[in-house]
C-alpha cells in the first residue's frame, strides 16, 4: 500500500525565483509605474497642462519647485512624466490583454483542430505578419483617426501574432498528449478539453510572451506619439514629450533625457522580468 509520504512543494520555493535581482528590478519598475499611474493627481506637484511661460525651460533644480525642470512652455516635467506613466501603463495593459485574448484563442483553436481551420487562421496571420509593425500601426491611425482606443487597436493588431504562433505550437503538441487522449476517452468535448487541459498548460508561456509584448507596446506607443500619431497632444505621454524635446535638444537636454530614461528603465525592467519568467517556464531549460 502506498503510504509513502508525499513530497509537498512548499509555496515559498515555488515563487522564490521572483526574488532574483533581475526579477526584483522588473517588479519594482512595474510597481512604480502602477503607483505613478494610479495616484498621479496626488503625487504630481503641478498640473501637467499648466503653462508658465516665465519659467519656461528651467533646468533641473534640486531645491526649486521644478525638480526635473520645465519644457518650452513652462510645464513641469516631473508632473508630465507621472501623468505620462498613466497613458503608457493603460495602453500597455490594454494591448497585452486584448492581443493576448485574441492570440491565445486563435492559437489554441488553430493548433488543436488543425487541418482547414488551422490553415485559414494561419493565412489570416500571415497577412498581418507581412506588414512592418509600425507601418501597419501608422496606417490604422491614419485611417481611423487619433484617439486612445485607436492607438490600442493599432498596436494590438500586431501584438497578437506571437501569442498565436506559440499557443498554436503548444496546443499541437498537447493535443496528442496522453492526458488529453484520456479526457477524450472519458467523453470530454472540445470546449472542455480546450478550457481544462490545453489552456492551463499554455498559460505560463503566454505570461512570458505577455511581458515582452508589454515592453514592445510601451516603445511602440512612444514611437507613435513621437511621430504625432498617438493619443491627442493634450494628453501628456512619454513619446509626445520626446517629440516636443526634439527642437530644443541642443539647449535643454533635460527635456529629452528624463522621458527617454523613463522609457528605457521601464522597458528594461519588464524585459528582465520576462527573461526570468522565460527561464523559469521554458520546458527546454530544465534547471529548475
Amino acid at each position: 500500500m502506498a503510504t509513502a509520504t508525499l513530497a509537498r512543494g512548499s509555496g515559498r520555493s515555488r515563487y522564490a525565483f521572483l526574488l532574483a535581482p533581475k526579477a526584483l528590478f522588473g517588479l519594482l519598475m512595474i510597481g512604480a509605474l502602477i503607483v505613478a499611474g494610479a495616484f498621479a493627481p496626488l503625487i504630481a506637484p503641478f498640473d501637467p497642462a499648466r503653462q508658465d511661460l516665465m519659467a519656461a525651460m528651467t533646468p533641473p533644480q534640486l531645491t526649486g519647485p521644478h525638480f526635473l525642470g520645465t519644457d518650452h512652455v513652462g510645464r513641469d516635467l516631473l508632473s508630465r512624466i507621472i501623468f505620462g506613466a498613466r497613458v503608457s501603463l493603460l495602453i500597455a495593459i490594454a494591448v497585452v490583454v486584448f492581443s493576448g485574448i485574441a492570440g491565445i484563442v486563435l492559437g489554441i483553436v488553430s493548433g488543436y483542430f488543425g487541418s482547414r481551420i488551422d490553415s485559414l487562421i494561419q493565412k489570416f496571420l500571415e497577412v498581418f505578419w507581412a506588414f512592418p509593425p509600425l507601418l501597419l500601426a501608422i496606417a490604422i491611425v491614419a485611417f481611423l483617426g487619433q484617439g486612445l482606443a485607436i492607438v490600442i487597436i493599432a498596436l494590438a493588431s500586431q501584438r497578437w501574432i506571437p501569442y498565436c504562433r506559440l499557443a498554436r505550437a503548444e496546443a499541437m503538441s498537447l493535443r496528442d498528449r496522453e492526458f488529453v487522449v484520456a479526457a477524450r476517452s472519458l467523453g470530454a468535448g472540445h470546449t472542455r478539453i480546450l478550457r481544462e487541459h490545453i489552456l492551463p498548460n499554455i498559460l505560463p508561456s503566454m505570461l512570458v510572451v505577455g511581458t515582452f509584448a508589454m515592453a514592445t507596446a510601451i516603445i511602440s506607443e512612444a514611437a507613435l506619439s513621437f511621430l504625432g500619431l498617438g493619443v491627442p497632444p493634450t494628453i501628456p505621454t512619454w513619446g509626445g514629450m520626446l517629440a516636443d524635446a526634439r527642437a530644443y535638444i541642443s539647449t535643454s537636454w533635460w527635456m529629452a533625457l528624463f522621458p527617454g530614461l523613463c522609457i528605457f528603465l521601464t522597458v528594461l525592467g519588464i524585459n528582465l522580468l520576462g527573461d526570468v519568467l522565460r527561464t523559469r517556464f521554458d520546458p527546454k531549460i530544465k534547471n529548475f
Partner: protein, 598 residues
C-alpha cells in the same frame, strides 16, 4: 565496508581493466550526493551488470566514469577511476584533460544508450554517422573507413549491410537501430563497452536477439561490458558478475551464480523475488461464467490508417493496423492481449474506445453495438468503458490536482452534485490506497506507482463494465509493478469489471490473465486459456515470444540462434484484402489462426 575493501585489494590484480574506488558524485543544490562510496571493478573480457531501480545512481556512476556528468551539472567530489592502458600501466580517468578524455571515449570506452532513435541524428544517413564515428577516432582514409563500417555492420548481423549504409535512421526498426548503435560503438574496437539499459525500449524478442548478439561479440573480441539494467532476468542472461545499487550505494557485489543462489542483502532478495518469472503462477482456477452476454465483444474488427500522398492528397495506400480481429471478454475476466510494438494492440484499444473509427466490424458493449451509436448514446456508453494508460506521467494533466483529475469523469457525465462527487472522489482515493491528503496534491508530487493509482481511481469512477489497460505497469519499477497488479486484481473482483490487459511482458501477463490473445502484424493469431497458451503454445510466433522471455536464473541460460529476420510491411495498396484465414479450435477454448507463416 567489506565490499569496498575487497575491490581495492583487487585493483592490483592482473586482468583488471577498470577499477573505481570511493566514487562520490554530487549535484549542486542538493544536500545528499547522488552516488556515495561506489567501488567497481571490471576485468578484461568480463560482463559486469550494474543493477538498480530508477534513481539508484547507476546511470550517474557511468556518466561520471565517462566524465559526461560535468555536462549535466554534476561533480565528482571524491574517488579514483583507474583504466588500464594495456601495457601494464594505468591512468586516472578523473585526472585527464578534456582533450585526453575525447581520445578515451569511443576509442577505449564506448557507450550505447537505452533509446537508439534519440541517439541517432535523423537527418544524416546511417553510413555518414558510422563513418564519422570511425574517422573521429582513427586516422584513416574514406575508403578504409567505409570498409571498417561495413565490417562492423556485418559483425552485428544486420541484413543487407551495403543498403543500410545509405538509409536514414527512421527507415530502420528499433532492433536494427540498436544493432547500429552497437556497430558504431564497436567500430573503434574499444576495451570496454558501457551499455545503459540497451534493451529496455525493445520488444522481448528483439531484446533476446540483442543480448545474444552482445554475448557473441563479447566472446569474439574479448571486450569487457558494463551492463546497466533494472531487470534481473537480463542480468541472469548475460552477466558474469553483479553489483546491486540502492540509493547511490553499492549494496551487493558478487559473481552472478552466487548472488542468485544466496543474495546477502535484503534488497537484492526483494529484487530477485520481484523479477518476472514465467511458469511460477499457480494453475488458473476457471471463473464461473455468470451470464451469457460478454461485457465486451469485438467482432471482425478492421482498422486502417490511410496514407495520402501526391499533389492532390489522394489516398495512396492503407496501413493495415488491425485485421479481422474477434474476441469476447466476460464480466470479471481478464483477457491479456500480447504482441510486439507495432502489432496493432494500441490501434485496437483506440478503436474500441472510438478514439479512432474502425473501417469495419462490430464492437458490442454489454450486447449493444456501440459503433452505430450517435453522440448522445455514445456518451452514455463511454461510462461503461474506461482506459488506464501506459505512462502515468503523461496521462495526468500536470496542472490539475488529484481530486480534480478523479472528479473529471464524474463532472463530464454529470453524475451528481458537488458534495456527491467529492464524497465519491474521497472513497476512490482511499480505495486505491492513497492517503486522503493526496486529494490536493499535483501529479508531480507523486511517484510513478502512486500516479498509476490515481489513473486507476479515475478509471473506476464511473463503475465501468470494461477497463482497457494499455501496458499499465511497463513504465514502473519491478517492486512497484507487483503492487499495482495486485491492486488491479483487487478492484476487478470488487467491481466485477472485465479487463482487456495489453502487454508485451509475458511474466506480467501470466500473473493477471485468465485468457491470453496473441497479436502479430494486426492479426489475432492465437487465443486461449492462460495455462494452455503458456504450456502448449501452438503458433510458431507464440512459441518464439515465450522463448524470448529472459529466465531469471543464470543456470538456465539458453543459447539463442541469431537470425536476421525480415518484417513484412503492414502498408498495402488501396483495395488490398488480407487473405481470410479462419480460426481453428485446437482444444476447448483454444483457437489458432493458420497462416502463411506456419
Amino acid at each position: 565496508m567489506t565490499v569496498c575493501d575487497r575491490n581495492i585489494a583487487n585493483v592490483a590484480a592482473t586482468g583488471t581493466l577498470l577499477s573505481v574506488s570511493g566514487l562520490r558524485v554530487s549535484f549542486p543544490g542538493t544536500d545528499t550526493p547522488a552516488v556515495r562510496d561506489v567501488s567497481l571493478r571490471v576485468g578484461r573480457g568480463e560482463v559486469v551488470a550494474l543493477v538498480g531501480e530508477s534513481g539508484s545512481g547507476k546511470s550517474v556512476t557511468v556518466k561520471a566514469l565517462m566524465r559526461l556528468i560535468e555536462f549535466g551539472g554534476g561533480r565528482v567530489t571524491a574517488g579514483r577511476a583507474w583504466l588500464s592502458d594495456g601495457q601494464g600501466g594505468r591512468i586516472d580517468l578523473f585526472a585527464q584533460s578534456e582533450a585526453a578524455m575525447q581520445q578515451i571515449r569511443g576509442n577505449r570506452i564506448a557507450m550505447i544508450f537505452q533509446e537508439p532513435m534519440t541517439s541517432l541524428n535523423p537527418v544524416l544517413t546511417v553510413g555518414f554517422q558510422l563513418r564519422e564515428a570511425v574517422q573521429r577516432h582513427q586516422n584513416v582514409a574514406r575508403s578504409e573507413a567505409d570498409r571498417i563500417c561495413l565490417e562492423a555492420l556485418k559483425q552485428v548481423r544486420l541484413s543487407e549491410p551495403e543498403r543500410r549504409l545509405r538509409q536514414y535512421p527512421h527507415e530502420l526498426s528499433g532492433g536494427m537501430r540498436q544493432r547500429l548503435m552497437i556497430a558504431m560503438a564497436l567500430a573503434c574496437k574499444p576495451d570496454l563497452l558501457i551499455a545503459d539499459e540497451p534493451t529496455t525500449a525493445l520488444d522481448v524478442t528483439v531484446q533476446a536477439e540483442i543480448l545474444a548478439l552482445l554475448k557473441m561479440i563479447q566472446r569474439e573480441t574479448g571486450m569487457a561490458i558494463l551492463f546497466i539494467t533494472h531487470d534481473m532476468g537480463v542480468v541472469a542472461e548475460i552477466a558474469d558478475r553483479v553489483q546491486v545499487m540502492l540509493r547511490g550505494e553499492v549494496i551487493e557485489d558478487g559473481l552472478v551464480h552466487a548472488v542468485f543462489a544466496a543474495p546477502r542483502h535484503a534488497y537484492t532478495r526483494a529484487l530477485l523475488d520481484a523479477a518476472p518469472k514465467l511458469g511460477n503462477a499457480p494453475p488458473a482456477t476457471p471463473r464461473p461464467v455468470t451470464d451469457a452476454t460478454p461485457a465486451l465483444s469485438v467482432q471482425n474488427l478492421i482498422v486502417r490508417y490511410p496514407l495520402s500522398g501526391g499533389v492532390f492528397g489522394r489516398v495512396r495506400a492503407n496501413v493495415h493496423a488491425v485485421e479481422d480481429v474477434s474476441f469476447d471478454v466476460a464480466h470479471g475476466e481478464t483477457l491479456a492481449l500480447v504482441g510486439e510494438s507495432g502489432c496493432g494492440k494500441s490501434s485496437l484499444a483506440k478503436a474500441i474506445l472510438r478514439l479512432y473509427e474502425p473501417a469495419e466490424g462490430r464492437i458490442l458493449l454489454n450486447g449493444e453495438d456501440i459503433l452505430g451509436f450517435d453522440h448522445a448514446r455514445m456518451m452514455l456508453a463511454r461510462r461503461g468503458i474506461q482506459m488506464i494508460f501506459q505512462d502515468p506521467y503523461a496521462s495526468l494533466n500536470p496542472r490539475k490536482c488529484v481530486a480534480d483529475i478523479i472528479a473529471e469523469p464524474l463532472e463530464i457525465h454529470r453524475t451528481g452534485g458537488r458534495t456527491e462527487i467529492a464524497a465519491r472522489v474521497a472513497t476512490l482515493i482511499e480505495r486505491v490506497g492513497l492517503p486522503a491528503s493526496a486529494a490536493h496534491c499535483f501529479p508531480h508530487e507523486f511517484s510513478g506507482g502512486q500516479r498509476q493509482r490515481v489513473c486507476i481511481a479515475r478509471a473506476l469512477a464511473l463503475n465501468p463494465s470494461v477497463i482497457i489497460a494499455d501496458e499499465p505497469v511497463s513504465a514502473l519499477d519491478v517492486s512497484i509493478q507487483a503492487q499495482i497488479l495486485d491492486l488491479i486484481e483487487e478492484v476487478q473482483e470488487e467491481f466485477n469489471v472485465a479487463i482487456l490487459f495489453i502487454s508485451h511482458d509475458m511474466a506480467v501477463v501470466e500473473k493477471v490473465a485468465d485468457r491470453i490473445a496473441v497479436m502479430y502484424q494486426g492479426e489475432l493469431i492465437e487465443i486461449g486459456p492462460r495455462d494452455a497458451m503458456l504450456r502448449m503454445p501452438a503458433h510458431p510466433y507464440t512459441k518464439r515470444l515465450l522463448d524470448a522471455v529472459p529466465i531469471a536464473h543464470p543456470d538456465q541460460r539458453r543459447d539463442r540462434q541469431l537470425t536476421a529476420r525480415e518484417i513484412s510491411s503492414p502498408i498495402r495498396a488501396v483495395g488490398a484484402e488480407s487473405a481470410a484465414f479462419t480460426m481453428t479450435e485446437i482444444a476447448p477454448g483454444h483457437f489458432l489462426r493458420c497462416s502463411r507463416d506456419m
